[in-house]
């Protein structure tokens, strides 16, 4: 092993260590976190609003201070110096410590909320109680573990969002995109649902109570959106409830395909989505850790589509379980619903194979298998299931399995907990069914592509290294080929880190979307061939 490799592997002795200011900022942030830990272990914390404010304020200010120390003393430009030397961003000891701490937090959050102070009957204690004043301010209700999580989640996106804005201040695309995710998270995911909860029982909801709703969270990401209790909530809440339900359905069938057609899946994944928001802000220091191997790419295609099949079957089963059988009562019966779903899937499948079969290649087989599996299952569902049963399995247990495996373990514990080990988009890449649907649309009929600038690529590999989705961008760029990949979330970092201005995210007509020449631009051989009439 040579010297170079050694210095890479150690990673614990960066050639450039933290400045005094950065150290102090880290200290302040740890103090803020310390208050939270203290609150979690203390049943009766005094003067909650004050301590909560101090804690969250300290964390927020510490992040800003750290960013200032890191980026204020240099001009606008790429700020990746030392990324692979720092323990925290190169899978060093610090990364493992942080990874374990985050994972631990998620396990407690999902499975042992009582450790955070959740009390079954009666007032909250510990950490959750500390958040009671803020929760009452917003929704009028005491806090839950989800409120605590939502607050910290939003805080992370805001604080690290500001850090990101500073880091990429030379790029208007990055600035706008980050402001967008910060806004959507704060307004739509955090404040609005809390305020909406205040309306419950109010006369404009006709006395009904809406389910807790983040309207930008679309099925299948929001896999529980069509469950019985939520539908009842929507339908029992007057015109507003009905409007929200209609919006939820339109989002899937109309809004999503139209926006993805125009802009690619980035409109959602890196401009709106909450998971994307965290990945792009707090997760940014870990983006380079994504696995770029071909094996990971294969695994990605299988997993993400299997999760999609799972969520479609699960949702269909759940909706099926509470629909009636009597057409005279309501037109949407079990039978109508199943036939509708089967028709929709067949239509999508037929269209994809008929008009886009060539583009699909391997993915086509995958898509075909998934679709047929779903359709077969649906038929089986109809034939063999009794009330609330699918293949003699309770649809409720199907839902619970999904909620546990995908909703909790995958998107939370692994997806976010392992940021410092696997990179920031593990969930989005391997598990998110929404990403699978949007990716399918992006690959087959979107106007979006990443254009490669003629023959300018120098194969340096910055684009591939910093692709959080593990796409080997360079493999395309060095062949002069545009990048049209279903997994691309359009974060634009490849374009930002490219030292030669080779990559540009853009929307345009389909012709020339996947441009490929035998020789790269700059060599006349192509023209010779063309003149001889061998060109297309």
């Amino acid at each position: 092993m040579n010297d170079l490799d050694k210095s890479m592997a150690l990673g614990g002795q960066p050639p450039k260590s933290l400045t005094l200011g950065q150290r102090l900022a880290v200290g302040l942030g740890l103090m803020g976190l310390g208050i939270l830990v203290l609150a979690a272990t203390n049943p009766g914390f005094p003067q909650k609003p004050l301590w909560l404010g101090l804690s969250l304020g300290a964390i927020f200010l510490a992040t800003l201070w750290f960013s200032w120390e890191t980026y204020a003393h240099s001009g606008p430009g790429i700020k990746n110096d030392g990324t692979w030397f720092k323990s925290i961003s190169s899978r060093g000891a610090m990364a493992w410590v942080l990874g374990l701490a985050l994972t631990g937090f998620y396990i407690v959050l999902y499975f042992y909320p009582e450790f955070l102070g959740l009390v079954d009957q009666g007032p909250n204690r510990g950490l959750i109680a500390l958040f009671d004043p803020l929760s009452r301010l917003l929704s009028g209700q005491p806090a839950s573990q989800w409120f605590v999580y939502g607050t910290l989640y939003t805080l992370a996106i805001l604080a690290f969002g500001l850090k990101f804005l500073w880091k990429y201040r030379h790029s208007p695309y990055q600035r706008l995109r980050t402001l967008s995710v910060m806004l959507f998270q704060t307004a739509f995911a955090f404040i609005l649902p809390e305020l909406m909860a205040r309306l419950n029982g109010h006369k404009i909801l006709e006395g009904g109570s809406l389910p807790y709703l983040d309207i930008k969270s679309i099925w299948p990401l929001n896999y529980y959106n069509f469950e019985s209790y939520r539908i009842k909530g929507f339908l029992g809440s007057g015109d507003i409830g009905l409007a929200l339900l209609v919006l939820a359905v339109l989002s899937i069938l109309v809004i999503t395909p139209v926006l993805t057609y125009r802009y690619g899946k980035r409109w959602y994944c890196s401009w709106v989505c909450g998971c994307g928001a965290l990945a792009e802000t707090a997760g940014d220091p870990f983006r380079q850790l994504s696995d770029k191997s071909i094996a990971a790419w294969k695994l990605e295609r299988w997993m993400v589509h299997l999760v999609l099949v799972f969520v479609v079957v699960m949702t269909t089963a759940v909706v099926h379980s509470y629909l009636g059988t009597d057409t005279s009562k309501y037109w949407l019966t079990k039978k109508v619903f199943l036939i509708g779903v089967a028709l929709l899937l067949s239509a999508v499948f037929t269209w994809a194979m008929r008009f886009r079969g060539k583009q699909l290649q391997k993915d086509a087989k995958l898509g075909a298998i998934s679709c047929f599996v779903i359709i077969l299952v649906l038929i089986g569902l109809h034939l063999f299931s009794g009330e609330g049963h699918v293949f003699w399995i309770k649809s409720e247990s199907l839902r619970k399995t999904y909620g546990f495996l995908i909703g909790s373990i995958f998107s939370g514990v692994v997806g976010t907990g392992f940021y410092p080990i696997f990179g920031s988009r593990v969930w989005c890449r391997f598990g998110c069914p929404m990403a699978a649907i949007l990716g399918f649309q992006q690959k087959l009929f979107s106007r979006f592509r990443i254009t490669t600038n003629g023959g300018q690529c120098i194969s340096c590999g910055n684009c591939s290294t910093y692709c959080e989705m593990g796409i080997d961008v360079r493999a395309y760029a060095q062949r002069g080929q545009n990048i049209v990949r279903s997994s691309c979330v359009g974060c634009g970092i490849c374009s930002a880190v490219c030292p030669r201005g080779v990559l540009k995210l853009e929307n345009g007509p389909h012709r020339g979307r996947i441009d490929s020449r035998e020789f790269l631009l700059g060599n006349d051989l192509d023209l010779v061939e063309l003149a001889k009439g061998n060109g297309p």
């Binding site: 050639p15 591939s464 995210l505 020789f519 023209l527 297309p536």
Partner: protein
């Protein structure tokens, strides 16, 4: 089936190998002593700066070579015998070939001044240089100051690298302004300002007289020729250009000059022996081009061209309009066509220069004063669309036509501020014209898309 042996696993040799594999069933061997696998030389700086691990600088995964039946030989070539059709290795052994491709690249120049042999004096070219730099300049405590000699692209990369570890840098440039043997005045001045913004001690009109030793074989300081000033330092970075790496071919019978002499089919005087990339010297370079062009793109284009010849379609080397790119610290640089520097441009070539009043952005467009024909464009801090500019050059557009449709070539990321209006205003003022902007035509963006080839899917996806 022939055995094609390639000496050198850089961009030229590897491109040739890939395209030969696409178009034939020849046996292919690539020899290199520098590294086991192809890596991107241009990315070495990012390894030292901590942007990328070395592993990521390899454009193709390690599985790629076996999968595509390209044999890799990790050995140093001592000599070539074109008559016996053999390559001899250092330490014994030989490899027989039917055809040989010399793609052995460059080696860094030295100045020939006293003290160059001392420890702590190095260039930056080979992978081994990076490993050496890791020892010579690990951080600001082991290297309290570095002096870089030579104001070219490698010099400024080296400065950027060292600054990423907070090492103070003195940058000695022989010219009166940074890289003004290539860049027009305004651009050279702007880059000079930017270098100083990065707290790099830029010394213009400065050359090295000698490097002084600390008495134990390490460099201690440098002395400037002009002023006699002595600057204490722990590292001396030599970045005074490169020359073809051809010493091992001296007595082979292959005709050499500064590089390996080749005809327009890239063949040397020995039949079946070819040279491409940095080491090749064209006997008759295409109009306006130099006989030796040690740049990435030339290596690649030569590799593509030669591969076609070896696959049965004899093709002369015919690069399209010149283009190149670089990055000066935070400023990206692209050039297309010909924009000559002040000292070489003569009277017929007229320049139009625009520079942003505050930001580090500028463009220079060159055109022929007589015919008004557009000759080329340099952009700093702005990105241009290669296909569009190439279309302008091939179409022999006039400077006015280019100015009217400048926006078509904009390749900046979405939402970036556009400057075509400001640029056109200045042009109108400078040349007393009243041009307006032609409405953006979306077609040029895809005009090269019509040349779509159904590329055969060889397994050259990356990792």
């Amino acid at each position: 089936m022939e055995h094609i042996v390639i000496i050198g696993n850089g961009i030229a040799g590897v491109t040739a190998a890939r395209h030969i594999r696409k178009g034939s069933r020849h046996r292919i061997s690539i020899i290199s002593s520098e590294s086991e696998h192809f890596f991107s030389r241009t990315a070495l700086m990012y390894v030292y700066m901590g942007h990328m691990p070395f592993e990521d600088t390899k454009p193709y995964g390690d599985h790629f070579w076996k999968k595509n039946r390209i044999e890799l030989v990790h050995a140093h070539v001592a000599g070539v015998d074109p008559l016996e059709r053999k390559v001899r290795f250092q330490g014994g052994g030989a490899l027989a070939f039917d055809r040989l491709i010399l793609a052995c690249g460059s080696q860094p120049n030295t100045l020939g001044c006293p003290g160059e042999e001392l420890q702590g004096v190095q260039g930056l070219y080979f992978k081994q240089d990076l490993e050496l730099l890791e020892r010579n300049a690990k951080d600001r405590t082991t290297c309290k100051r570095a002096v870089i000699v030579g104001g070219g692209l490698i010099g400024i990369e080296l400065a950027e690298m060292l600054r990423s570890r907070d090492i103070p840098v003195t940058f000695l440039v022989r010219e009166t302004s940074f890289w003004n043997s290539v860049l027009p005045e305004g651009e050279s001045a702007m880059v000079g300002e930017h270098i100083r913004e990065h707290h790099i001690d830029l010394r213009l009109n400065a050359t090295l007289k000698e490097i002084r030793s600390d008495g134990q074989g390490r460099a201690r300081s440098v002395v400037l020729a002009e002023t006699g000033e002595e600057i204490a330092c722990d590292l001396v970075g030599l970045a005074v250009g490169v020359s073809p790496n051809i010493e091992f071919l001296r007595d082979s019978g292959i005709a050499l000059d500064r590089g390996v002499l080749v005809d327009q089919f890239l063949e040397t005087n020995c039949p079946g022996v070819y040279a491409i990339g940095d080491c090749a010297q064209l006997k008759e370079p295409p109009p306006g081009r130099r006989p030796i062009e040690a740049v990435w793109y030339t290596g690649r284009i030569m590799g593509e061209t030669l591969a076609r010849t070896l696959c049965g379609q004899p093709s002369a080397y015919s690069p399209g309009p010149w283009f190149n790119s670089a990055k000066f610290l935070d400023i990206e640089y692209q050039t297309y066509g010909r924009v000559l520097p002040q000292q070489r441009k003569g009277n017929s070539e007229v320049h139009f220069h625009w520079r942003h009043p505050r930001k580090k952005l500028c463009v220079t467009l060159a055109f022929d004063g007589q015919s008004q024909r557009f000759l080329g464009i340099n952009a700093l801090g702005l990105r241009l669309r290669h296909g569009t500019v190439e279309g302008w050059l091939r179409g022999n557009l006039s400077i006015d036509q280019v100015m009217e449709t400048l926006a078509d070539a904009n390749f900046d990321p979405e939402f970036h501020k556009k400057y075509e209006g400001a640029i056109l205003d200045k042009y109108n003022m400078d040349f007393n014209k009243a041009l307006g902007r032609k409405k953006k035509d979306h077609r040029p963006m895809f005009q090269w898309g019509c040349m779509v080839y159904p590329t055969d899917k060889t397994n050259d996806s990356g990792r």
